[in-house]
Amino acid sequence: MNDFWSYWYFHIPNFILAAVMYTLMGRLLLGLFVPESWDNYIWRFFKTVTDPFLRIVRTVTPSILTLPVVIVFSVLWLMTLRIGYLVLLINFGIAPMASQGG
């Protein structure tokens, strides 16, 4: 069994969180150049993937902050979640270890 499936409980959640995180970064970057209501399929995909998470972060963010700030906060929350999950697994002694390869 390869390393991915040995540590699926780390890799799969980490992959999903990373995917949402980078999609948020993409939305933030693209949002600098396009209007929020743009009807392009890539933009709609970015919004579909990130909107559920943005709604959660919006709940714990004061309403004075604008959407781009909420996106930055969401990226940081996701980064914190990923690192926190890794630290949790390290504490339980079940985190994936770096191998020497070969």
Partner: protein, 106 residues
């Protein structure tokens, strides 16, 4: 809520970003968050660590303020900004010894 109320929150968060002992933890975790293509200069990594910590201070301190704003029937902006500022000051307490040391020039 008045935008000017953000100024003291941001000022305290910047102080926390520079002087907090947690900045070392963020710095040590740099392989996780620092892009591989960026120059691995310790000064730049430290600056980015301070920036991340400042932003996270504002973010975490904003949670109780936001929850008050959502759950209160008639939220008052002065209360929201006070909760936010109090949270930021609370998170900055561990940085105080370093601030004092810097102010005394030692």
């Amino acid at each position: 809520m008045d935008r000017n109320a953000l100024v003291p929150v941001m000022a305290v968060a910047i102080v926390n970003g520079i002087f907090s002992p947690w900045v070392l933890m963020v710095f040590l975790f740099y392989p996780v968050w620092y892009p591989a293509w960026a120059p691995p200069l310790s000064q730049i990594v430290y600056m980015a660590s301070a920036l991340i910590l400042s932003t996270m201070t504002i973010m975490l301190a904003g949670v109780p303020a936001a929850l008050y704003e959502r759950w209160s029937a008639q939220p008052r902006s002065v209360v929201v900004s006070s909760i936010w500022l109090a949270g930021t000051v609370l998170l900055t307490l561990p940085a105080l010894p370093n601030v004092m040391r810097a102010l005394s020039g030692g």
